[in-house]
């Protein structure tokens, strides 16, 4: 290793930003110091540490200006779709239309973290009867009420069925408050029975062909609704083009993940990788710009690789992370404990896999939607984790439970059991609340212990 790119405090990150702006580094109009977002209440930014690169500057500015983009889209007369829960399917369809943007109101999940609970979304949710028995996605209901975060969409869709009870309950409450929702069914993905026509889904899961047909018929309803909203047809030609563009994002991200999770020394920090992966699900409301942002990150990784320069010391413990963390700062913590990310399964791996381009577009989209790890058996999900952890060379697995999420307890236990059996790796379960500061010593101790275990195992 010839050097280590230090993580920067927000103050240093903003200095870097100002230097780039002063030097005339090409930056889009949305780029700027993070202090402006802190002034708007995003106080968690003060406690995060950031990658020392222009690519990271652009990534963070892109992420944190999404609400402005949505409001600008509304002002420009574009139609806004609030896609809920499917994490990666409906936006591919929506962005196939020229005058439609789509986003996930689910993203409000992170608002209490980013604003360190100062925004009051959980309080509003509580007043609606959505208390802490439900997962942090209940913040979404608060955001619909106070309308301080995203514009109210022109069309709301929500996948239900074999998805998530917390989400379904929160979305139903929203509808009761006067936000009509187009509900669409996501069947519980099952393994094909003997003699039953089956297909292999993107990512490798197997499912009965009849279930793909069910999802396809449900997505046809979404297609009709989108076309009606846009006032223009959403034909297979448009969808095929939309799929190609989505795949462009996924390919770049795929290469970025492959390098960031395997190359030694680690060329991109965990926190930036988490944000980068999130871009795949709805392009952060600007598909073309998400391509540019991810391309820059990839370029930065290549530059660091050529210079044998990493962001962590060589030999960091290689962790595979399961489920998104409600507190972004935990991504910094794992590195502080001497670990690095070597693979992730943030509940949207179906949004990372390329969508088949050799099938009718609606069938491709249905196959992709049905590959959602959440809608199938936990054993399927575990098999994918085992496969990816093996491919990325992970030495341990962290299952990050989501507070209040009804699916996590049994699911995490099943995944942990299978991972231990198949890979023989140590597995740790953590629960990460939206602001994890009070839990910091506990989380750090558990991660420290895991890293120690990994390092000890290397000596065998």
């Amino acid at each position: 290793m010839t050097g280590t790119a230090k993580r920067l405090t927000m103050e240093a990150f903003d200095r870097l930003c100002r230097r780039h702006l002063a030097a005339g580094t090409p930056m889009p109009g949305y780029a700027g110091p993070l202090a402006r977002h802190v002034a708007d209440g995003d106080r968690r930014l003060l406690k995060l540490e950031y990658d020392d690169s222009a690519a990271a500057l652009r990534l963070w500015s892109f992420l944190l200006t999404e609400e402005e983009r949505l409001h600008a889209a509304r002002a420009a007369g574009m139609k806004i779709v609030g896609a809920m829960k499917d994490l990666g399917t409906v936006p591919v369809m929506a962005y196939s239309l020229p005058n439609v943007v789509a986003f996930y109101p689910d993203g409000a999940w992170w608002t209490p973290c980013v604003m360190e609970l100062s925004e009051g979304l959980f309080g509003i949710a509580q007043s609606l009867g959505l208390g802490d028995a439900l997962c942090p996605v209940r913040a979404m209901a608060g955001a619909f009420i106070n309308q301080a975060h995203f514009p109210i969409p022109d069309l709301l869709t929500c996948s239900v069925g074999a998805t998530c009870d917390d989400f379904s309950a929160v979305a139903q409450r929203l509808e009761s408050l006067g936000h009509p929702i187009l509900w669409w069914e996501m069947p519980s993905r099952r393994r094909p029975e003997s003699g039953e026509a089956a297909v292999t889904l993107p990512g490798g899961f197997r499912a009965p062909a009849s279930q793909v047909a069910v999802v396809r018929s449900e997505l046809e309803r979404i297609r009709d609704a989108l076309a009606a909203l846009a006032g223009s047809p959403l034909g297979d030609v448009e969808l095929a083009a939309g799929i190609r563009m989505a795949n462009r994002v996924r390919r770049i991200l795929g290469e970025l993940r492959s390098l960031a999770y395997t190359v030694e020394p680690c060329p991109m920090p965990a926190l930036e990788m988490l944000i980068a992966e999130m871009l795949a699900i709805h392009f952060c409301s600007d598909r073309a710009e998400s391509v540019a942002v991810l391309s820059l990150l990839l370029q930065e990784v290549h530059t660091r690789m050529a210079a044998k320069r990493g962001v962590l010391p060589t030999g960091a413990a290689r962790l595979f992370w399961v489920n998104p963390v409600a507190d972004l700062r935990v991504m910094n913590l794992l590195e502080d404990c001497g670990a690095r990310l070597c693979g992730t399964e943030f509940l949207f791996c179906h949004a990372l896999d390329e969508i088949p381009e050799d099938l009718p577009p609606m069938e491709s989209l249905a196959s992709m939607a049905l590959a959602d790890p959440m809608v199938g058996p936990s054993a399927d999900r575990a098999a994918r984790i085992v496969r990816d952890a093996r491919a990325f060379g992970a030495e341990a697995v962290v299952i990050s439970r989501i507070p209040g999420a009804s699916h996590c307890a049994l699911e995490g236990t099943v995944i942990g059991r299978i991972v231990r059996e198949e890979l023989g790796l140590p597995v740790v379960e953590l629960e990460v609340p939206p602001v994890a500061d009070p839990m910091w010593p506990t989380l750090k101790t558990r991660l420290d212990a895991l890293v120690e275990t990994v390092l000890e195992r290397r000596k065998r």
Partner: protein, 382 residues
């Protein structure tokens, strides 16, 4: 005869029986749940209890996808490999022909599972005859319920669900409450027509496909339901509706606690009560297409919190709360049940009635806390 155990009201007993397999809808005992059934934290006590007991009490177990916990519990039990497990996909949506078709297809898949267990695929006539038998028994049961105490009625339903004939073990002497103290649902609930044979055709579905659920205010400020005179004179205690999830074995103590606190159960809207009875079968359609009649009677009519939209539940509540003249609602739910946890505030808004959100753990030693809360709630209603 082999038996299969299940919990969800969306599993038709007559479909199982028609295959020559004994259906047993189980009310599990949370106190007897094995500690090894999943982690302690975050697992619904009811799901744990059902999984624990079902895994040792029958030839096979049927779970449904109507809640996260039971869906995951099915997998947990499957991994144990000790009992055949069938996970039935019950769609959350219900307004499209595709949803009803999916439910019908799942029944057929369940049928193949039952045949693999040693059952036999039923002829149309056999299915129709079995359905007629169940329909008649259910009608008899409905008639019996009106004269029972809340606990007695609940236990009669539990016995019915285990396959006992109505009338056996009816209300013990001295336990019969004044006439019409219990209402658990209309004797002949109206069809929602969500899944009729006709609705499975694209043309019949056109209107529904674009339908949007509307928030319904069950009681407007000017439409408060007057308590029928019969209730005022025939029964004592404040009338309360109990709405919510399933009852486990021993949860009849809920009704006892309520009555001890000076209330009376005017409506049992738990998942284990008459709310989840299927609609009576249509005789003509029963003969023409019994499977579709089964789909329509179950999938097309049973109101529940997991359905999207949940309009059927609030339509049912509108009708039944008015008929029962309930003055308050107790939401009965096990901890970690998201669907009913989120429903409590909505019920409060929609009905303008006082609502007690009663979360229980299934731990017998903690029932005292629930009983105290019920007592306080009843004092508020007095």
């Amino acid at each position: 005869m082999k038996s299969v155990v299940y919990s969800s009201p969306f599993v038709p007993a007559e479909w199982i029986a028609a295959h020559g397999v004994r259906p047993m809808r189980l009310r599990p005992d949370p106190a007897a749940a094995l500690p090894s059934t999943g982690p302690l934290m975050g697992v619904c006590p009811y799901a744990r209890a059902f999984t624990s007991e079902a895994g040792t009490s029958a030839g096979a177990v049927i779970f449904t996808t109507t809640c996260d916990q039971m869906r995951r519990a099915a997998e947990w039990l499957s991994l144990e490999g000790t009992t055949p497990v069938f996970l039935m996909n019950v769609p959350a949506t219900w307004q499209t022909p595709a949803a009803a078709r999916l439910y019908r297809d799942e029944l057929q898949r369940l049928g193949r599972f039952l045949v693999a267990l040693g059952g036999a695929e039923p002829s149309r006539d056999r299915l129709a005859a079995t359905m007629e038998t169940y329909d008649a028994r259910r009608r008899l049961l409905r008639g019996d319920l009106a004269a029972m105490t809340a606990r007695g009625a609940s236990e009669a339903i539990a016995r019915f669900d285990l396959g006992e004939e109505p009338g056996n073990g009816g209300p013990p002497p001295g336990t019969a409450a004044p006439l019409m103290t219990l209402r658990g649902g209309s004797p002949d609930p109206p069809r929602r027509n969500a899944a009729s044979s006709q609705s499975l055709t694209p043309a019949g579905a056109a209107g529904r496909e674009t339908r949007r659920a509307k928030t319904e205010t069950l009681r407007s400020p000017t439409s408060h339901v007057e308590e029928p005179a019969a209730h005022k004179t025939a029964a004592s205690g404040a009338a309360v509706a109990v709405i919510g999830g399933p009852l486990a074995r021993g949860d009849g103590r809920l009704f006892d606690a309520l009555e001890k606190a000076g209330g009376r159960v005017a409506l049992d809207g738990t998942e284990s009560g008459p709310r989840t009875f299927p609609a009576p079968f249509d005789r003509r359609r029963l003969r023409d297409d019994p499977l579709m009649e089964l789909v329509d009677a179950y999938f097309g009519t049973i109101p529940d919190a997991f359905r999207r939209p949940d309009t059927l539940l609030y339509q049912w509540l509108s009708r039944e709360l008015a008929a029962s003249a309930a003055r308050g609602i107790i939401v009965w739910r096990y901890v970690w049940c998201d669907m009913w946890a989120a429903a409590a505030a909505r019920l409060r808004e929609a009905t303008a009635l006082p609502v007690l959100d009663l979360d229980v753990t299934g731990d017998a030693s903690e029932f005292g806390r629930a009983a105290n809360r019920i007592q306080a709630f009843m004092e508020v209603l007095k």
